[in-house]
Symmetry: none
DNA sequence: AATGAATGAGCCTTCATTCAT
DNA sequence: GATGAATGAAGGCTCATTCAT
């Protein structure tokens, strides 16, 4: 029993891993069920067997636990909001860029933004909206009530835009600078930059 | 003869227009040759006849004149570099977001970043690399020599990231805020925000 | 043991019931093993386990007891052959049309005629040939020896053709006359018509 | 031009012929696009190219011209209604049974009755309903106003049931009587039988 | 003995491309 | 030079069947 379940679980897991890999590399349209199954070392019918359809596979491949955990642990931190923003940006960049990191949901998410599928509604509802709210709260903590709702929202967009740029534009940046590697040192430096840049931007707007 | 050439030219032009439209809406993979030809009111074989392949059509559909003109006119401006950055960001956002604007190259570009095709090399070489250089120069003018090459580059990324976010994440922002419309007032407000935010960020990093 | 055997028997029986239901509704090709197993509340493998294949299930699902009983009881009747023909047609129409009637073998049979499967040989041998013989005998009883073998056979065909028409053409008749319902009154009227019509036909041919 | 059109027309015609053949043999579900294309000696994509889909092919494969012509010419006949019924039945049986006759629409139709597809509505509307009306009229001419609407309808059913039986039950009859061949003599004999049988039946019911 | 998991052949359809004029 | 017709590779998906327990 447990062994059977174990085998199924393994196949499902291999499919999900392969799917995350292929979806994040090729996008939803570009990915083929056959390629995913090839990488998962299973047959073409297994996607439909386990997930009903390619759409269903995408929906399950998305799993925002790590993103949620990141926000939760950040809220529980004792540090001042500025420091928490720094920490958040660093962790978020690690999720986006660390190539050794198997959780590629954020990369799929990033792909989805450019190519909406039926799964986008779920992504927005379950992951992106809470993320925006979380960052909005953090910005508010930093500036008090010095910003209009629209300005606060735009500050969130500025922060996210900076972070996502490194993922979206990765193919471009690689071509502009072939030696580019996202090791931990580089990621730290990027996160540090974005945090400084953003805190200055937020404060500047709050003073006005 | 000239009439025939004229007809050929017209067909090419109609195909390029249709291709820009469809590519920017559906992405390269999502676009079909049939749909492009339907909109161009020509036969399905004409894409291959005129451009060799779908890839070839994409390569020719990209045309960076407006982007180049924008940079050129900006350089010729008398204003101070900060003011020129403000102007540039505003014009760039208009290119990215204005739906009345028929020049959709930037939108294709934005799509391409997330979905590299053989055309990406050309895009990077002819459009993105010069753009990065232009912005790097502008940042340098603003801060003097107070930034390392890496920091200067990251400032450029921060500016571009903020601007591109509104395009990449449009499907998401629409869902988060269904009433969102990119009219000229909204675009101006966004551009103003990004400029303020970025100048504060740049200055803050330069002082360190 | 007996309990296990009982469970096996129950599963077989549930499968056969479900198979008759689905085969008669969807035809052999249209029916899926999964749907049959779903209705029988068992696993998808059980059809092959118990019956070897989908074909095997069909072969076993066919059960002509009721048809045989009908003929047997008819022969044992005291009535005159004309009356027995009337009775037979009425009972046969009930088998074919009565929707409350769970014995759907005749409906499967009717489907099979248009779509021969490996099971058809069995159907012909065990059910149809005896039925034709039975009706041939009845016709002979009615007309004495006034008909050639070929004519007698064609009379049987005329009778069966009229009865089967209501089943075969049901989808058509429903469209031509949407209010059509095969309740007992309607079935009686149909049977009465076919009997009258056929007796007149038989007699007319016998006189010639 | 004409030659191109000719080639297209030839391919379409070959596809339609093959489709009629396969549909009438295997039914709509059982028929595969691949088999149809194989017989038409064209590629698998051509069905969708020429007819949009398998459904579209079926819709076009059905062509009731011959059936309509049959009714029209019958109406224009000078003979008495009884004689016209005889003629009609004979012509109709030729359509149904003559194996040298390439117009197998009626055979597809017969298949459809047992296995309704989206095309059945069209079939009923364009072919079957007019046929029933035509026969209803003929019955009325024969009996005057001596039959209720329901009885008249049932007489039509009795006639059609007898004729269609030879088609529907062909696989069965072949097994019961392996030497059976539908040559013109046999078809004539069958038609003669059905006509006699039916006229007797109609008259008998009218007298009551 | 019985079952859930897994399979691969085959389905219809779509597509960029090539062919034949 | 330009086009409608035709193509075959590949797409997602369904299905009866077999595997492994």
């Amino acid at each position: 029993m447990t062994e059977l379940e174990g085998r199924t679980e393994q196949t499902r897991a291999r499919l999900l891993d392969a799917a995350r890999e292929v979806f994040s590399q090729q996008g939803f349209q570009g990915a083929t069920v056959r390629e995913i199954c090839r990488r998962a070392e299973t047959n073409v019918a297994s996607v439909n067997y386990h997930f009903g359809s390619k759409d269903g596979l995408l929906a399950e491949a998305l799993n925002f636990n790590r993103l949620k955990a990141l926000q939760l642990s950040n809220v529980q931190q004792d540090d001042c909001p500025k420091q928490r923003l720094r920490l958040f940006i660093r962790e978020f960049m690690l999720m986006l860029l660390d190539e050794k990191n198997p959780s590629s949901q954020c990369r799929i998410m990033a792909r989805e933004l450019a190519d909406p599928t039926p799964a986008l509604d779920k992504i927005v509802r379950e992951a992106i909206a809470p993320l925006h709210e979380f960052l909005g709260g953090l910005v508010n903590e930093i500036v008090g009530s010095g910003l209009s709702a629209a300005e606060q929202r735009r500050c969130v967009y500025s922060i996210l835009g900076q972070t996502l740029f490194y993922r979206h534009s990765h193919p471009v940046l690689q071509r502009l600078n072939p030696r580019l590697r996202y090791d931990h040192r580089e990621i730290d430096a990027i996160a540090e930059h974005i945090a400084e840049f953003s805190l200055a931007g937020i404060n500047s707007l709050a003073k006005k």
